[in-house]
Symmetry: C2
Subunit: 411 residues, 2 copies
């Protein structure tokens, strides 16, 4: 369906009338509260609610004043989808009370906050190219992919407390690393990396002991964000055997502020790769469950120009979100509204599409040269890493904006 808004929306905007994402903003030092976005502006949902356009939904007014989306999302898709479509209708209706209202603020005037409180954060490892590349570098080139990898979406629990919103500086971590020729040492990580990821946000609670099937999963996945799972490769390499990554990750992960709903992403659903060997019945699925989401990563040195260092796509994922959630809950593990489930690094087949410096510069063996002539094997202090993501089809664009973070020197 073609929609035309009475609002001027730049043609290349991620926040077209087809998007209508959800987030949390504050303005002029006020308390955080809920927002949507259109073009270059945010939409103050408390203000919108005051116009009465949501009255038929009977939503407690405190929902709009909350400092996270968790209570809003907990209303369920039957309500949140109506909020979204009502916003779309009113943004297209020149006689809407929204027109001429004071519900809009330029994005440049507001601060964005973490969109949800994250109870638990899980990181999957679902790009076959990434898993293969890391396997070659960290372990055995002849057996890069572990025997379990094609049978189940490998994942692990991450640290929820250190997930921060785009724009938050990240301090280079100190920690323990092991030189090849000597005992372990303490100091700042020398192999600071980003990971190009996306995450989905749980929209519905399940009970301990219950499974969520790949079919039911649609009901539990509220939307998605861009995600940078910063990684200190030297710390990770020394610590991760046998229980997995820990301090090499938990110093910080960065999320984009706008949750784009699955309903906004549905026109961009595509087929996934053929899974061979065949998966067990609980991991089978029907329908289009991959998404054609363009992704780029740029690295900007201090006071310098942006350099696009990766061009990838979310559709490369071997395991889809429905499979991830069905696997996560097959043992009865419960999920809560606001839980983050990240994809793992998204790498394509070619070096141009790799999703981490570890892969792009091949563990330091193939440094890249930036526009200013400087080289990078990993991320330097004061470098800013920015991930952008957007879908585009038939002149319709739905995007995520960006997730960005600057590395500060270790303390």
């Amino acid at each position: 369906m073609i929609m035309h808004s009475w609002k001027d929306i730049p043609n290349n905007s991620d926040f077209s009338i087809y998007n209508i994402p959800f987030g949390v903003f504050s303005i002029s030092g006020g308390s955080p509260r809920l927002a949507s976005a259109i073009g270059d502006e945010i939409i103050d949902l408390k203000g919108v609610a005051a116009t009465g356009i949501f009255d038929s939904l009977d939503i407690n007014s405190r929902i709009w004043d909350a400092d996270t989306l968790n209570p809003f999302i907990s209303l369920g898709k039957s309500v949140t989808n109506k909020v979204r479509t009502l916003l779309q209708e009113h943004m297209c209706d020149p006689s809407s009370p929204l027109k001429g209202s004071n519900c809009f603020h330029p994005m440049s005037d507001v601060s964005m906050h973490m969109p949800v409180f994250v109870g638990d954060y899980t990181d999957f490892y679902s790009s076959i190219e990434h898993a293969t590349n890391v396997g070659i570098m960290f372990r055995d080139p002849a057996n890069a992919l572990m025997p379990n990898w094609k049978h189940l979406p490998v994942g692990y629990h991450g640290r929820a407390s250190s997930i921060v919103v785009s724009g938050t500086n990240i301090t280079r971590p100190n920690g323990q690393t092991k030189p090849n020729d000597g005992p372990p040492i303490y100091g700042p990580s020398q192999r600071m990396d980003f990971e190009l990821e996306m995450a989905f946000i749980i929209g519905k609670e399940s009970n301990l002991g219950d499974q969520i099937s790949t079919k039911q999963a649609d009901d539990y996945i509220f939307g998605m964000v861009l995600f940078n799972d910063w990684s200190a490769r030297d710390i990770q390499k020394w610590e991760y055997v046998p229980l997995g990554p820990f301090l090499g990750k938990s110093f910080g992960s960065t999320a984009s502020p706008w949750i784009v709903t699955m309903e906004a992403l549905s026109p961009f659903a595509v087929e996934g790769p053929i899974q061979d060997p065949e998966v067990l019945p609980y991991l089978t699925y029907s329908g289009l469950k991959n998404y054609d989401i363009n992704l780029t990563v740029s690295l900007t040195p201090k006071d310098g120009q942006a350099n696009v260092i990766s061009t990838s796509n979310f559709k490369y994922m071997y395991w889809n979100m429905n499979q991830q959630l069905a696997h996560h809950t097959v043992n009865g593990c419960n999920v809560k509204v606001g839980d983050f489930m990240a994809s793992g690094t998204i790498s394509g087949k070619t070096p141009e599409s790799y999703g981490s410096m570890l892969e792009i510069a091949w563990s330091g063996q193939k440094p890249i040269t930036l526009k200013d002539g400087s080289q990078r094997k990993f991320i330097n202090n004061y470098d800013t890493v920015t991930i952008n993501g957007w879908c585009e089809k038939n002149s319709i664009r739905v995007g995520f904006g960006e997730v960005s973070g600057t590395i500060l020197p270790a303390k």
Copy 2:
């Protein structure tokens, strides 16, 4: 200091006048609220506060009505320690308004709840005997202990949402496992296990980017509970490479309801093992940081008798809690009030002191025989596993009560 309470306290009670732990209870279907314990009774802290004995501390009365201890613990040790010592003084003073008050209820009349909301849960792996035993069985007997193990307290992130309070039934998980001679299969875990652990609870928030030294750690550790980190060994074995345990653990973990404060445990502090090789400076510590806590595990078949299957002690831990917290935050990872930090399975040197069925029955090779003549390699349906823990010295006893759970058949 010798204390005598005017209340009759059984001699062998875990909840002597020297303990005064904190927990959350409800009675007759009412709302959960805060409690302490003495002998066989709980102490309703809202009722105690109403007598005025805490008035000088100027505590917001809603604290006592909260359904978790998080707000109370957030007041800081300067307040919570005074609450504890005031309770001790009044329980010894025959003229206290508590005497004759209706603040006490038999433990048998109340329900206990999760004592805190757990934001993040970390599981360490700090028993050298356990790590060695698992290394022999899961990996390579010749190199059972990984090269990093003696240099840092290995740990990983666990699932917070599925931590439940003692007495909650645990459903045997379904999942994917790999027979030796064929492709992976789906079904109920055939190797259901317990893990004898203890956990400490964070009492003070830190900021992202800040480190907590081993010395500062005392200020951040509020108290401890008993912890059963249920494990499905067959699921774990297939899934855990390379990112660590996931669904083999996340179907449920069980915590005891009473948090025993570090102040109550301080008389039982003992020296830890000699750490050789020497640890890096950030992991050095001074003072007595291990604790002499007796631990037993019993297995009770349906309608059967309890069988003590392990007798261990928390003092066996190679890495202490101060080292664990200093390591956890060396990279700037932030902690929040209520975070759980579990010890990892606590095994002693002899089979009688092993902390899991995996070790006790040596991966099924040495089944144990129960009093009723039945054998166990792992945990059967309807078996109840109960962990008890207590300190005792100079006729003074401070204990944790128990953490108990029954395994129900897979769905």
